[in-house]
Subunit: 184 residues, 2 copies
DNA sequence: ACCTGAACACCGTTCAAGT
DNA sequence: ACCTGAACACCGTTCAAGT
């Protein structure tokens, strides 16, 4: 049976989940699918387009924000959902950041984030700016957390601040931004 | 006269300034220095280490924060200085983000940022978390700005929001974070 | 001490030619 | 329509051997 775009993207997500971004190469992906590398370019324009699709998949399970909840609460929940979607996939945050950079507006949950910021009272002109702050915080804190994990594995002296404290970083930062929203 | 680590790093910065990160390869760097690629590995352990050094150079001109200024004012000025240092170098924000990820604590102005957050009244336990929010905002907004410039060049229809408005994104986000600091 | 030559094990992408 | 084979133009890194 013929290869499909669907199949290409699914296998790409699989490689990412299992081995991380460094192993997600077009050639490796072709090997996994038992086709020649050139075959992929029938289903996908290039690697960038593939990564945008992969990022979409990572965030696909995030639920639409509940319109009946208080705006700020829904915003916090959405930020947590974004974080969780990306936290357990190696280099997941980088892939989403890349996709957002390459093709902003292509990620449904990011668009929802912008609308939530609006519901929280931020005027239309400033919504995207504030949503970017939240998004950068989510993605940045996940990356920092992963790197700290690596540092911990590599260098056992690096036990100064333990893993639980590291994870709390996210909450603190999110609270600062939410407090800022109330004041501006 | 023999090659030196100094010379290697300086030329790397040069290539980055002129052609961006995609062109900053070990082989290209060797060509520019008129040596074999292997020669670089006498002066530098690997590409990661080189990029950490390059990031340090990009931020080297940032002045130490003025201890006599009000904390919040000094913090805002420092954030602006970080932004300016990185804004005019193609992929400068990515290089700094990478260096910070690979070797946190290696960038003097980032350490100063943490101390400024402390001076602004954030308790020691939460200083790093908040400093990361500011740093991610600075680097993230520069990346977004650059990508928007590219989109503008590529697709003239993308004139919806003009360049000046795009640059203001940074100010809005920074104000939200500063307001958050006052409230938490 | 410092560098070259040559290799190893890879990349992303294109494209004529096949089915 | 969909894929292969083969090429093009690259990567980062290592290391024996030279000076």
């Amino acid at each position: 049976m013929a290869l499909s775009r669907e199949q290409v993207v699914t296998t790409a997500v699989d490689i990412l989940r299992r081995y991380g971004l460094a192993d997600l190469t077009m050639r490796r992906l072709a090997r996994e699918l038992e086709v020649a590398p050139g075959a992929l370019y029938w289903h996908v324009a290039n690697k960038q387009e593939l990564l945008v699709e992969v990022a979409g998949r990572l965030l696909a399970a995030i639920p639409e924000p509940d319109p009946d909840r208080p705006a700020e609460e829904a915003l916090a929940a959405h930020a947590h959902a974004l974080r969780e979607a990306v936290r357990h996939v190696p280099d997941g945050a980088d892939v989403v950041a890349l996709a957002h950079a390459v093709d902003p507006g292509s990620l449904r949950p990011v668009e929802e984030l912008v609308r939530l910021v609006g519901r929280a009272g931020v005027p239309a002109r400033e919504r995207e700016a504030v949503a970017e702050v939240v998004l950068h915080h989510v993605l940045g804190s996940v990356t920092t957390e992963h790197n700290q994990r690596i540092a911990l594995d590599l260098d056992p002296d690096f036990r100064a601040r333990d893993a639980a404290a590291v994870a709390k970083t996210f909450e603190v930062g999110l609270e600062v931004v939410l407090a800022g929203l109330r004041r501006v």
